[in-house]
């Protein structure tokens, strides 16, 4: 599979469907995530209310984004922090590099951050002679495997335990760990022990932020491993890489989201660690970084404001949409070829990368609506996917054959008499082909269908012709009486 190339979605899907390891990893995910979320939601009677409140809060913030961002900046600075406004990924990379160079950083530890993925920070730092060390276990695994994340909250969810055992042996053997571990607790311990010294060695710690608090200028991260705390408190500098729409007005507002985030994501009541950072270490603090920087990335988000896809900016990155997506469940995240995957990725990626390169993503959906149903902030994902399909169609990105097919079909569909004639011919032809078993095993122009399933044969006449004949017979019968 080729990573980070959304234009070969179909080829990637084929490879994914043939990948036995991926299929067993996805089966585990599918069996766990869906019932776990449901159970967590069922245990909290006010989940729907909280969810509605979260949605309203996000809409309020998006309607007043400038106000809350400026308020965040003011309060962050007042607490001794620095805010870097970055329009593009390149701006954000440059800002991070400048900070790293100010302390002549050789290594940086990293907590899990999708914005760091969005700006391809690891590659960039490596290119500039700085070693990034991922400290979230999932991120650590895919860093060793040199792969992008396949899920926004479980980056290595596509890997089986056996694959991780092999990967650890391969990379840890040179560190003296020559025994292949197969028990998850032992594997985790091995990774922890190797990572432990890296925290002390790092000059800079980089984390993401789940929320930015306007009233206090703080950032919040949630993790299950505590790695984020070590990443952000031990080094000289803490850099938060985040994006505009993460801001919420108050700490209390953040708790609304914290109560729905973990439940939607993993089915936990709450993540194991929720950490609030406000500015650098103060004189009487026992620990903490000497400097606190917030990289605020825009990367197209401000143009989504006021557009038909603005609702996407409500996203709290829980991953419920992908966990419940039949397409994601089949092909996994790497197939999408983008940083953000699943339904939320298929809506966000065209906004970040353009409709041209990402045209498969909004199309590769059955529009079943389960993503919208489980979205804790009610993002109308199917509607937004259709919006992108329209933009793609308008831009002439739909293949010629499909466009031609639609025109021919529409020509008939708008002429009922002609349509009826064509339909009567078609059903007779198909009936003849499927007469023996009542179904067709192959059909030359419908391989997409018949490669994987039979095509039930039509009954042989259209409903409308039979109905009209029956009505006519009844009328004649009535007249005869």
């Amino acid at each position: 599979m080729e990573f980070m190339n959304p234009s070969i979605f179909k080829e990637n899907a084929r490879a994914a469907l043939a990948d036995k390891d991926l299929r067993s990893a996805m089966a585990m995910l599918n069996a766990g995530m869906v019932p776990n979320r449901q159970a967590a939601v069922d245990r909290l009677p006010e989940f729907t209310l909280l969810s509605q409140r979260g949605r309203e809060l996000k809409d309020h913030v998006l309607g007043n984004l400038d106000f809350y961002l400026e308020s965040f900046e003011r309060n962050c600075k007042a607490a001794g922090g620095h805010v870097h406004w970055c329009a593009t990924p390149a701006d954000a990379q440059a800002a991070v590099l400048k900070i790293c160079r100010s302390v002549d950083a050789k290594t940086v530890t990293k907590g899990k951050s999708m914005i760091a993925e969005e700006i391809h920070l690891n590659e960039f730092l490596e290119k500039h002679g700085i070693e990034p060390v991922e400290t979230d276990l999932g991120e650590y695994i895919i860093q060793l495997a040199q792969e992008p994340p396949s899920h926004i909250i479980g980056p290595a969810i596509h890997k089986t335990k056996d694959q991780v055992s092999d990967l650890f042996l391969k990379h840890h053997a040179k560190l003296g760990r020559t025994e292949r571990q197969t028990e998850p607790p032992k594997m985790v311990n091995e990774a922890r022990e190797i990572l432990r010294q890296k925290y002390f060695d790092a000059d800079v710690g980089i984390t993401g932020a789940n929320y930015l608090i306007a009233e206090t200028g703080s950032s919040i991260i949630v993790t299950n491993e505590g790695n984020g705390d070590l990443t952000q408190t031990l080094p000289k500098i803490h850099i938060v890489v985040t994006s505009l729409e993460k801001v919420v007005p108050t700490l209390e507002d953040a708790t609304t989201f914290l109560r729905i985030l973990a439940r939607s994501a993993t089915g936990q009541e709450f993540s194991a660690y929720t950490t609030i950072s406000t500015g650098p270490r103060r004189p009487d603090d026992l620990d903490g970084p000497g400097e606190y920087h917030v990289i605020l990335l825009d990367n197209g988000r401000s143009t989504m404001l006021g557009s038909e896809v603005q609702d996407m900016l409500r996203c709290i990155r829980c991953g419920a949409c992908m966990n419940h997506c039949p397409v994601y469940q089949s092909v996994g995240g790497h197939t999408y070829g983008t940083v953000y995957v699943g339904p939320m990725g298929a809506v966000l990626s065209p906004a970040l990368l353009g409709v041209s390169e990402t045209q498969h993503l909004p199309c590769a959906s059955t529009l079943c609506g389960r993503c919208e149903e489980v979205c804790p902030v009610a993002i109308p994902l199917p509607r937004l996917l259709r919006q992108w399909r329209e933009r793609s169609f308008e831009a002439g990105k739909v293949p010629g054959l499909e466009r031609w097919g639609l025109s021919v079909w529409a020509f008939f569909a708008r002429r009922p008499w002609l349509y009826g004639l064509a339909a009567r011919l078609a059903v007779r032809g198909l009936r003849y082909l499927g007469r023996r078993q009542g179904r067709l095993r192959t059909l030359w122009f419908a391989g997409g269908w018949t490669d994987g399933r039979d095509l039930p044969a039509p009954e042989g006449q259209t409903f409308q012709e039979r109905w009209r004949r029956q009505q006519a017979e009844r009328q004649r019968g009535g007249a005869a009486r």
Binding site: C368, W409, A413, G438
Partner: protein, 260 residues
Amino acid sequence: MIDNSAKAPINVGLFATCLVDLFRPTVGFAAAQLITAAGCTVHVPEQTCCGQPAYNSGDRRHSQEIARQVIETFAAYDYVVVPSGSCGGMIAVHYPELFTDDPEWSRRARALAAKTFELTAFLADVMKIDPVAAQYDGTATYHDGCAGLRELGVRQQPRELLAGVAGLKLEEMAETEACCGFGGTFCVKYGEISTDIVSRKTANVAKTSADLLLAGDLGCLLNIAGRLKREGSSVQVRHVAEVLAGMTDQAPPIGENGEG
């Protein structure tokens, strides 16, 4: 407007859907019989398709043209009844979205949307019919079509109606609410993914003791039946209306020739 009192006839326009028209006329007759039995007069005006192929492909112009045609054709009836949650959802939910910039057509689309119902929802919620008098000996499992379930809230209605069918036992499969992978043109454009999705559905069917799979959408049914038959399954597949109308003797199960 609509007068349900006294003896004023309730005129129902049956939007059969293009798939029923082409593949499974029996569903159209079953729907007509059920609606008639509920005390309404059924009309089948000349019709083609609801426009979903264009709508879901991003072709707004053709979607609007076809929607206008359907709106004009069915405007005069008291109700429009559709034996499909997908096409019903198209008319009841998506037509109004197609004309947000056009006040006149928006009004007409909303008027049609307000009186358009999926078949089982119409029978159970609008006409509040008594248990149907049908008979079917066997164990069925029910697949919830996505649009019916999530756009129109169709879930209990077919089950309530089936509860009245003598001899029929309903055994729910796991994940009845999961998509079958049909998705309109999706199943052809992304055929391999669609096949994988429907295989999860057929695996769930196989875990039950059902000998019959029912649903209210012919798209899902053709897809699931096609996969079951490819897998060599003996589970029969039918539209719920066929069982409710007691018309299972009118046509062999979907994808079969009548001799088993």
